[in-house]
């Protein structure tokens, strides 16, 4: 219980540290943009990350159903899954929360005997990490699915059904008509 109130109390500074730590996975120029630009439409990545981590934090504090917490995780993972990250790089942000909480609550953990609660919290974060892995995989699968469908949909379904495109699919070899 003690831990819960501490986490509520320190919510702002924990989220801020977590956010900044996540941004450190980008180059210096990118970080300064992500931190500076406050408009959610000019800077959708930072906005989504902000919304995502706040939702996840709330989920840890007050509990949340799987779908809802997944939607918050997805706000971050959907973006990192298409940026230049390895799979571990894309979902490492969730582990960073452990680091932030430990550092923020270091003194309290020693003085107030909350280490047990802390261990329990950390295992909940581990649960979120597993969930993140599923979400990441779903995102990557979605990409492949879209790619396959895109190749299929390149030609109008209407025309295909009318049998009007077979001729085009075998494009004549332009080499044969060398001028």
């Amino acid at each position: 219980m003690k831990l819960d109130s501490l986490l509520s109390e320190k919510k702002f500074s924990i989220l801020e540290r977590w956010f900044n730590l996540i941004l450190e996975s980008y180059s210096a120029d990118t970080q300064s943009f992500l931190k500076r630009e406050k408009d959610r439409f000019d800077n959708p990545v930072a906005y989504e990350f902000g919304q995502g981590i706040e939702g996840i934090y709330e989920a840890l504090l007050h509990g949340m159903d799987r779908d809802r917490v997944s939607s918050f995780l997805d706000r971050i993972i959907s973006i990192r899954a298409i940026q230049d990250f390895s799979p571990s790089g894309a979902i490492a942000f969730i582990f960073l929360l452990k680091k932030v909480i430990r550092e923020e609550l270091e003194r309290e953990a020693r003085e107030n005997g909350i280490s047990e609660e802390l261990i329990e919290l950390e295992s909940r974060i581990d649960g979120l990490a597993l969930l993140s892995f599923d979400i990441y995989m779903k995102r990557r699968e979605k990409l492949y699915e879209i790619r396959v469908n895109e190749v299929k949909n390149r030609v109008s379904g209407l025309l295909r059904r009318a049998g009007l495109i077979s001729e085009l699919e075998e494009k004549p070899d332009p080499k044969k008509r060398k001028h």
């Binding site: 996975s25 943009f33 439409f41 000019d42 790619r147 025309l159």
Partner: protein, 541 residues
């Protein structure tokens, strides 16, 4: 025992990228992030140099032995021919105003996608070989040698620019990054570095007149088929004519509108509108493509592919040309066609035969945008419209980059949409009109193998769509670009938005009330109209 990292150690992994100067970081060619190399057959068909088989992921790109001389010579040649190029190289003060305006930078976080740095990739080589400081001081003056790695980097980042010109809007000097990208891609082409997606379209277009390689009879079959569809849904059969000499108007559309959904419904929309007006128009079997992939890779190729439009207009003896809903097609028609292949003095200044409006803006090119034409019809009360037939549509509008930024076409499409649809909501101001966010797949980047890059680039656009979707229940995204119609559906699918893409003339046709028509129960996509009871549809059947 092999070392397995413990979770705590994994947590300590430092994901911070190493801070190396930009000149020393090399691109990594991973799947989803580059376009495939063009096969030699297209290059041969187009007389493009150094046709060969090569692969982007190979260490050795099989360049001609004297590749460096060729590239530098090409650069030299272009510096002499295009005053703009030298100017763009010299005047950038690196103020950074453009830096965070590119959708690829915003979505990827890769600093080399900042327009200023994208330009710097080329500019640094220019400095090394064309400025005194660069020759003497090298890196200190921001100059660098042209190496194979530099060439690869050009390829990587010049094919991550959609030539959308959003950055140019914010540049105090108006430096046009699209021009730099085109010229940069020309330099790459000079040593045989081209992409399959673009060259296949260009090669096909050069042969048959359109990107998909449809010969005239196939093109005609498709349009006939659309007439069947129109008749089935509305009871009205359009009667277009093909290659008809002496018609008043030549109509040219992008191939995306007759080849891929949902563009096909836009094409049906044109056909029904022209039928309603009993317009004296014809369709050419050779000028069967308004789009121009050639323009994405070189000014010469753009010119070659564009030539057919005036030449067909001349052959058919029409008075003026009407063009369909396409994006880059209009940058070419509005800003280049006249100087490339004009003057079109064999045509007349366009006048609407229905309203007698003189399209003075098209005095020189003789080509009118179909939304200008239709907006004028509505303004003069020439169309009987029943907006409620689009009541199942809650609409927002994506300003396609080229009609918006290269043509200033903001009001006409909006005027039409407001007159054919009751529910229209704008996306936030900083994401529309001249600040519009690109779809992320223009300028020949709509290849499926580039999907990841496209999803990054389209993120800011999708994000603004999400906002109106959640706030107003928007379920349709209108646009006037065939590439948009092809690439926005996968984009919105990735970002989890249940929003359909529609052309403007599709909705015009839905709303159009023909004299003596049968009762309408479905729209062009065969979807039941709002307020129609299931029995009414059964009755009809």
């Amino acid at each position: 025992m092999p070392e397995v990292p413990k979770p705590e150690e994994l947590m300590k992994i430092d994901y911070r990228p190493p801070e190396r100067p930009w000149m020393e970081t090399k691109p990594e060619f991973r799947g989803g992030r580059f376009c495939n190399a063009a096969s030699p057959k297209w290059l041969e068909a187009l007389d493009y140099p150094y046709a060969r088989t090569w692969s982007v992921t190979d260490e050795d790109w099989n360049l001609p032995e004297n590749w460096k001389d060729i590239v530098l010579e090409s650069m030299h040649d272009r510096l002499n021919r295009f005053r703009s190029l030298r100017l763009f190289f010299d005047i950038c003060v690196r103020c950074g105003a453009c830096a965070d305006k590119c959708h690829y930078f915003i979505g990827s976080g890769d600093p080399k996608n900042m327009p200023v740095l994208r330009a710097e990739l080329l500019r640094s080589v220019y400095r090394r070989y064309y400025t005194v400081a660069g020759k003497l001081l090298g890196k200190l003056a921001g100059a660098r040698e042209l190496t194979e790695d530099v060439l690869k980097e050009w390829f990587y980042y010049l094919y991550q620019c959609t030539e959308c010109r959003r950055c140019s809007v914010f540049c105090p000097y108006g430096i046009d990054m699209a021009e730099l990208t085109i010229l940069g891609r020309e330099l790459l082409s000079s040593v045989g570095i081209n992409t399959e997606w673009v060259m296949a379209s260009v090669g096909s277009c050069y042969r048959t007149g359109n990107h998909i390689g449809a010969p005239p009879h196939a093109y005609k079959d498709m349009i006939d088929f659309f007439c069947d569809e129109c008749e089935e849904v509305t009871g009205i059969r359009p009667r277009p004519s093909f290659n008809r000499k002496g018609a008043e108007i030549l109509f040219v559309a992008p191939s995306g509108d007759y080849f891929a959904d949902p563009g096909t419904y836009t094409f049906m929309g044109y056909l029904l509108l022209f039928e309603y007006l009993d317009l004296d128009y014809t369709i050419s079997g050779y000028a069967s493509e308004g789009g121009n992939f050639g323009y994405f890779i070189s000014h010469e190729m753009g010119k070659r592919l564009n030539y057919k439009i005036y030449s067909e207009a001349k052959r058919l003896g029409v008075k003026w040309i009407l063009g369909g809903e396409c994006g880059h097609m209009w940058r070419v028609l509005n800003q280049y066609m006249d100087t490339w292949n004009g003057p079109a003095d064999f045509l007349e200044e366009p006048v609407s035969p229905i309203t007698d409006t003189r399209f003075e803006n098209a005095k020189s090119t003789k080509m009118v945008h179909v939304t200008e034409f239709t907006a004028d019809l509505i303004k003069h009360g020439k169309l009987k419209l029943d907006k409620s037939r689009n009541d199942h549509i809650v609409l927002t509008y994506h300003d396609s980059c080229n009609p918006a930024r290269a043509m200033g076409l903001f009001e006409e499409p909006r005027y039409i949409m407001r007159n054919v649809c009751n529910n229209f909501y704008e996306m936030p101001q900083n994401t529309i009109r001249e600040s519009t966010f690109c779809c992320g797949s223009g300028s020949g980047l709509n290849a499926d193998e580039l999907l990841e890059v496209r999803m990054r680039g389209g993120l800011p656009r999708a994000n603004a769509v999400r906002y109106v979707h959640e706030k107003h229940g928007v379920n349709h995204l209108g646009c006037i670009c065939a590439i948009d119609r092809a690439v926005l559906p996968p984009l919105l699918e990735y970002w989890g938005l249940d929003v359909e893409i529609t052309g403007i003339h599709e909705m015009v046709a839905n709303a159009l009330v023909f004299p003596g028509e049968k009762k309408k129960t479905v729209d062009l996509r065969d979807r039941t109209l709002k307020g129609v009871e299931p029995e009414e549809i059964e009755e009809e059947e």
